[in-house]
Structure formats: C-alpha cells, structure tokens
C-alpha cells in the first residue's frame, strides 16, 4: 500500500469512528477525579448571592471542548443562585462568553444586570488582571453592551477581587498562568481552571503547589462534572467519541510498531 493510501485509510477510519460514536447514545459512568470533585464542592458550598468571576480566555477553535466545560460550570453557578461577572481576556472568547452566559442564564431565568453581567474584552491580559485588583470598574468602565458599570446592579459593592469569591478561568492556553501568578499571589484570590485536556499537564505543578485551587480538565472533566451536577451534556456526549479516538490511536501505534519490527527483522535477514 502506498504512503498516500495508508494515510487516507487512517483518516477515513478516524472519521468513521468519531461519526459513529456521535450517532450512538452511550453514556459512561465515570468517577469524578479529586480535582473535579473539589471544584464542584467549592461552588456547591458557596452561599447564595456569592460573586464569582468567569473569564473566557480561549479561542474559537477549541469551542467543541471548551463549551461543555463552560456550560457545566455556569449551570452549576446559576443553579446555586451565584452572581456571575463575565470577562474575556482573549478577543475571540468575548462573543462566545457573552453567548454562553446568555444561553445559560435563560435556562435558569436569570436576568442580565441583576444576576450576571458580561464586562467584555480587555487587551493586554496582565495589565487587565492587575488593574482589576485595584478597581474592576476602572478597567471596565462599561459592560460589553455599553452600559456604565456603576449603573449595573450586580456590580454594586464590587470594587476589586476582595468581593469576588473565586476566579474561574476557562482556557485553552497558558492564560490562566497569569491569573495564578498575579491574582493568586498578589491578591490572594482563589483561581480555578476549566481547560482543554491538552493543557492539563501545564497546570499540574500549580495545582500540586496549591497556587491553583482546582482544575476541570477536558471533555472527561466536563463529563465528570455533569454527572456530579446530574445534568448530562456535551461532555458526556463527547465521551464515546473521545474514547474511540483514543483507542483508535492506541491500535494505530501498536500496528505501526508491529510493522516496524517486522520490517526490521526482514532487513536483518
């Protein structure tokens, strides 16, 4: 088989595996990892009316993985009647963050301005993060829709991170590191990360040292969180596809190595 044909067979196999996985309705019973359990318990134990800041620090490209993560955290927060301040430190996360917040809020009959607000995007992440430590309304004088921050009820009494219980950074990159390094160390703010699976190991050292409070990682993390919340969503739906893709890659690695050793043996002979 030529190199090109092999590639097309591999591509076609993966496409089939993932397509079939999404057509089947299979749900896995997964045990929540300690990090997901910790995230869930923290939000669950927050008193009603507590304020959390959710930062949409991601690109549009990772939306299929980011969306279930963001939705499950937002649903949990709204379900427990927490107030949410949404921000975005990544330009592409702005429109997505606004839509996800609006969508989730409508599921729980939450009102914009009273129960949640979306302050929008600020360029230069470090500067924005540090600036909010002094004054959130100084960094965001207006919300995403142009309403002065002072006139938004949910922002009354909110000056800086001191009035915010936790920062949840939803990310597909290393932006949460800025939250950890600047907000965590300088303003002693709890930081939780909801991130793509590829980024989990990047944050492991921060998690182990306690600088990062907790992590909900990848589709698996989202599925575990959804199970804890009792609201299966995109995380659970994607689990079969992720499982089959992982198993497919494992099979490819094994076949590749069998062929490699066979060819090497033939070469020696």
């Amino acid at each position: 088989m030529t190199r090109l044909k092999t590639r097309w067979v591999i591509f076609g196999g993966l496409f089939l595996m993932i397509t079939l996985s999404y057509l089947l309705n299979v749900r896995f019973e997964s045990v929540a990892s300690p990090e997901v359990q910790k995230s869930y318990t923290y939000i669950e134990d927050l008193p009603e009316g507590s304020v959390i800041m959710v930062s949409f620090d991601h690109e549009a490209s990772s939306l299929p993985e980011i969306q279930p993560l963001a939705l499950v955290v937002l649903r949990h927060a709204f379900k427990n009647n927490l107030k949410i301040i949404g921000v975005s430190l990544f330009a592409e996360g702005t429109a997505i963050g606004y839509r996800l917040l609006s969508q989730t809020a409508s599921e729980f009959d939450k009102r914009y301005g009273t129960d949640y607000v979306f302050l929008g995007f600020k360029p230069q992440q470090i500067s924005a993060i540090l600036g909010m430590g002094e004054s959130i309304r100084h960094v965001f004088p207006e919300d995403y829709l142009g309403t002065p921050t002072d006139e938004i009820p949910v922002m009354h009494g909110i000056v800086n991170y001191d009035q915010v219980e936790m920062v949840v950074s939803i990310t597909d990159g290393a932006l949460t590191v800025h939250w950890i390094e600047y907000v965590g160390s300088q303003y002693h703010q709890q930081v939780m990360a909801a991130l793509t699976a590829a980024m989990i190991t990047t944050y492991d050292p921060y998690l182990a040292s306690g600088q990062l409070f907790s992590v909900v990682g990848g589709l698996k993390g989202a599925a575990e969180y959804e199970n804890l919340l009792g609201q299966p969503g995109g995380g659970n739906r994607g689990m079969l596809a992720q499982t089959s893709a992982h198993l497919y890659v494992i099979v490819l690695i094994i076949i590749g190595n069998i062929l490699y050793f066979r060819d090497r043996k033939r070469g020696k002979e």
């Binding site: 990892s33 997505i96 600036g131 100084h138 829709l145 698996k220 992982h246």
Partner: protein
C-alpha cells in the same frame, strides 16, 4: 543621547514598578494604576499596527496575483465584522454574533480538528520503539491515552492510578524543572534590561 534616554526611562520604570509592589501607600497605588493604564493604551495601539500590517501584506500579494481569492476573503472578513457590529450592534441576536457563531467559530474549529487526523497518522508512522528512550516515551503516552478515557476505569481502577502517577511524578518533575528554569531566566533577563546590560531592544545593539 539616543541610547541613554531609553535606558534611563527603562531603568526608572523598572525600579518604580519593582518598588511599588511592596508599598501599600496611595501614591504607589496611583503610580501603579497610571502605568497600568498606559500599558493598556500602548497595547491597544499595537492592535492597530497588526491590522495595518495585515492589510498591507495582503494588498501587496493581491497586486502580485498571489492567492488572490483567499486574501480577498481575509480582507473581507476584516471589514465585515466591524461593519456588522457597527450596523447591527453586538447583542445576542445581532448579525455580528450570528456571523461569529456560524462562520468564524465553525471554521476555526474545523481547522483545529484536522489536528486529530494528523495525530492519528503520526501515531502510526512516527511512534516507533526504536530505542530505550522511545520505548519509555511510548509507554508513557499509552498509559496517559488509556487513562484519559472512562472505559478503562470500568475495566480496572488501576489504569487511572498509573496515569495519575505518570502525570504527577515523572512528568511534573520535568515540567517543574522547566518552569523554574524559565522563572530564573526571566528574572535574569529583566534585571539585565533594567540595568541596561541587555540592549537588544535598542536596534539590536
């Protein structure tokens, strides 16, 4: 003078920002907020520079007849999104939001998802147990791949435990080493810049 002035500005700004970190005095806080504001304003202007460079490069290539349709689409996107936002606003039911959700996001996700196909192809071709190091890498990859899917949890609880061990001991040790190295390197570079030893930002001198 051309060199001394920027070095002096850099030294004063660096020392000022370093000292204010340790002071809760209102003057120190005011200095911090002001410098922070300037930082954001300067950064906002760099976005304009980026847009100008994007337009200039694409127009230049179009004039040469290189990849014209793609470049026109790129430029059209650059103009379309702000125009949509200016005309229809940015609310949830606006054309801007629709274009973002139904054009930009799916296109980006599609391109990004192609990575899965290349990973699958590379795993078949490149992940070979050629020597001892490759065997270790291969074993670690297999363990993490297996441990990140729920089906293996259903087979045995040992898989996630092994994955946890790989991620939290050997992998973390390497990552910590890298992070500490980056931290020390950043501190050294910052000190060199503040003290005027590192001058590559001044025309590479």
């Amino acid at each position: 003078m051309q060199q001394r002035l920027p070095i002096a500005v850099c030294f004063i700004a660096g020392v000022l920002m370093f000292l204010q970190y340790f002071s809760p005095h209102p003057v120190a806080r005011a200095v911090f907020v002001t410098i922070n504001d300037y930082w954001q304003i300067i950064f906002a202007f760099t976005l304009l520079v980026g847009i100008a460079a994007f337009v200039k490069t694409n127009l230049k290539q179009i004039s040469r007849g290189k990849d014209t349709p793609y470049r026109l689409i790129g430029l059209a996107g650059l103009v379309l999104m702000p125009v949509l936002a200016l005309i229809g606003g940015i609310k949830i039911d606006s054309p801007f939001q629709w274009a973002f959700e139904n054009m930009l996001a799916p296109m980006q996700a599609t391109v990004f998802s192609l990575l899965a196909f290349f990973v699958a192809s590379a795993s078949f071709r490149g992940f070979r147990a050629r020597n001892a190091q490759a065997v270790i890498l291969l074993a670690a990859a297999l363990v993490v791949l297996i441990g990140r899917v729920p089906i293996t949890e259903m087979i045995s609880e040992t898989f996630p435990k092994i994955t946890f061990w790989v991620q939290n001991y050997p992998s973390m040790a390497a990552r910590r080493g890298i992070l500490i190295g980056i931290g020390l390197g950043s501190m050294t570079t910052a000190l060199r810049v503040i003290l005027g030893i590192e001058r590559t930002y001044l025309r590479g001198e």
